[in-house]
């Protein structure tokens, strides 16, 4: 896997604050990765995303894009923002145009592409997010889930290699959350690396191959879900909970630990409608 982005001892502090919002963060993100970012409110997840996209310039440390150090010249920042797309938590913060098609064209137009190339990219992005029928609609008339898809299409049209999604499922109903997961899978299949900030530990457990945990501006954990959630002290310190299926798998001694209900009950074994016993008694007598 090719490295896309690397942070080395990156630190950031807001002008009006004394405390560091991010402190000595070092990590590397490669192509095709599926990473979940966990952490309680104020842990530094959004600041981390903004630093990765170049909106915030770190006070200390370095950022590398495909092995090249970012020296914060205008051209390098533009390259960074093209390669690393950021989808904001509130879709309304991102939507500025009069129609969906105009909105999705904003990014490619800023790349100074030809009109035909912009049109092609806009159509491709709208088709990928199933938004072609909404292209002449005003973004503010759309539902929450549709707006979220527009904000993803917005970035997709710039053809990034890495997409950062800041709590994309917040304020989405369950149906739209499922649709979002399907869309994330489509993006992954295109080879785009995905980093998703979320409070939903069950989603992180189910979807991510790698989990990052932030706490008080520091990256306190970086690894597979099985290792992360096995560390009780870490989970408690970070103000997190263990995923439900992880706990069920641990209680019943299931290996490998199930990530989905289907993995837990592959044949529907033990399920009896109306019966109180769904699973056999746990192996430790509980």
């Amino acid at each position: 896997m090719d490295e896309i982005l690397r942070l080395k001892d990156l630190s950031f502090r807001y002008e009006e604050e004394k405390a560091w919002a991010l402190k000595e963060v070092s990590l590397s993100i490669s192509s095709g990765e599926k990473i979940a970012v966990l952490g309680n409110n104020g842990a530094g997840k959004s600041t981390f995303f903004r630093c990765c996209n170049g909106i915030l310039r770190p006070k200390e440390g370095s950022l590398y894009l495909k092995g090249e150090k970012i020296s914060w010249k205008k051209k390098e920042i533009l390259n960074l923002r093209q390669s690393v797309g950021l989808i904001f938590q509130e879709a309304d913060h991102q939507l500025i145009a009069g129609t969906v098609a105009e909105e999705v064209s904003f990014g490619p137009m800023n790349l100074k592409l030809s009109e035909q190339e912009v049109r092609n990219r806009v159509e491709k992005a709208l088709a990928a997010m199933e938004l072609l029928k909404y292209q002449e609609k005003a973004p503010h008339e759309l539902s929450g889930g549709e707006k979220k898809r527009v904000s993803i299409a917005d970035i997709l049209a710039m053809e990034p290699e890495l997409m950062l999604l800041d709590e994309p499922a917040s304020s989405l109903d369950p149906v739209n959350q499922s649709l979002l997961e399907e869309n994330l899978e489509k993006l992954h299949q295109k080879g785009i690396a995905l980093v998703v900030a979320t409070h939903d530990v069950d989603f992180a457990w189910r979807w991510a191959k790698r989990i990052l945990i932030f706490h008080q501006g520091r990256l306190v954990a970086d690894g597979r879900g099985e290792e992360i959630f096995a560390d009780e002290a870490l989970i408690e310190k970070s103000g997190l909970k263990k995923p439900l299926l992880y706990e069920v798998g641990k209680i019943y001694g299931i290996s490998p630990l199930p990530k989905t209900l289907k993995e837990l009950l592959p044949d529907g074994e033990g399920i009896s409608s109306g019966s109180a016993e769904i699973l056999p008694a746990p192996s430790d007598g509980r």
């Binding site: 913060h93 500025i96 904003f106 990014g107 490619p108």
Partner: protein
């Protein structure tokens, strides 16, 4: 572009008209155009006209009077060393200016109600208006609605907590809302700007313009209308000399 030039042509015709009937006639034409072509509901059009009509009425009241050293005219009041007088000339002037302004405002409203702002800025760019001005225009337009939305949310939240239950409470609530409105809108605008920067925004707001099918019939109708109005403007007897 044809639509913008048509409305501009009508505005210039209204401002240059020599008879109030022309201004009134232009208002009706622009209303019909907004209604038929732009499908603007009548109620919405009239509601939007309340503010400019009120302004025209106030301005008209001011134009009716002139100050001089002699008592003259239809009505006259002694003010200080001179007289504030309403004369036949000031009445005729007020009527002409009011209807000119009405015609021009109608043309502007018709343009605003039937043309998305992205199209307007696109036309201005094609007319070599500086990019900075077009981008600022678009952003100001966008942020007006942002502040309007924030204000609406705050007002609703206040209403839900009986913030307008009596006059005194209403005043306090209004002061609180406006005090917070700027700070909150500034933060929202900051978030909007971050989102634009994250997509390589370089100071120039650019969108892909829509694919338009050139409707030559409409363009011809617009040209005929403009020429007709200009013709009427030239041929019509001028309003009594002021």
């Amino acid at each position: 572009m044809p639509r913008v030039l048509f409305c501009l042509g009508m505005m210039v015709t209204a401002v240059c008209s020599a008879h109030p009937f022309l201004g009134a006639e232009l208002s009706v034409v622009m209303f019909l155009w907004a209604r038929v072509y732009g499908k603007v509901p009548v109620g919405k059009y009239l509601r939007m006209f309340r503010l400019p009509l009120g302004f025209l009425a106030l301005s008209g009241l001011v134009l009716l009077w002139e100050y001089s050293g002699v008592r003259e005219g239809i009505l006259s009041f002694s003010v200080g060393p001179g007289y504030l007088s309403m004369t036949r000339e000031t009445v005729l002037r007020t009527i002409l200016v009011t209807f000119r302004a009405l015609g021009a405002v109608s043309a502007l409203f018709a343009l605003g109600m039937t043309t998305p702002v992205t199209e307007l800025t696109g036309v201005l760019k094609r007319l070599h208006c500086p990019d900075l001005i077009c981008s600022l225009m678009y952003l100001m337009y966008r942020y007006i609605f942002l502040m309007y939305q924030v204000h609406g949310n705050m007002k609703q939240a206040a209403e839900g907590r009986m913030g307008y239950m009596d006059y005194r409470t209403s005043l306090r609530t209004t002061a609180g809302i406006y005090g917070n409105l700027l700070a909150y809108s500034y933060r929202q605008a900051g978030a909007n700007f971050d989102a634009m920067e994250s997509r390589c925004f370089d100071g120039s707001v650019r969108f892909l313009s829509g694919k338009y099918r050139k409707d030559w019939r409409k363009t011809v109708i617009l040209v005929i209308l403009v020429l007709l109005e200009i013709g009427i403007c030239i041929c019509w007897r001028s309003w009594p000399a002021i």
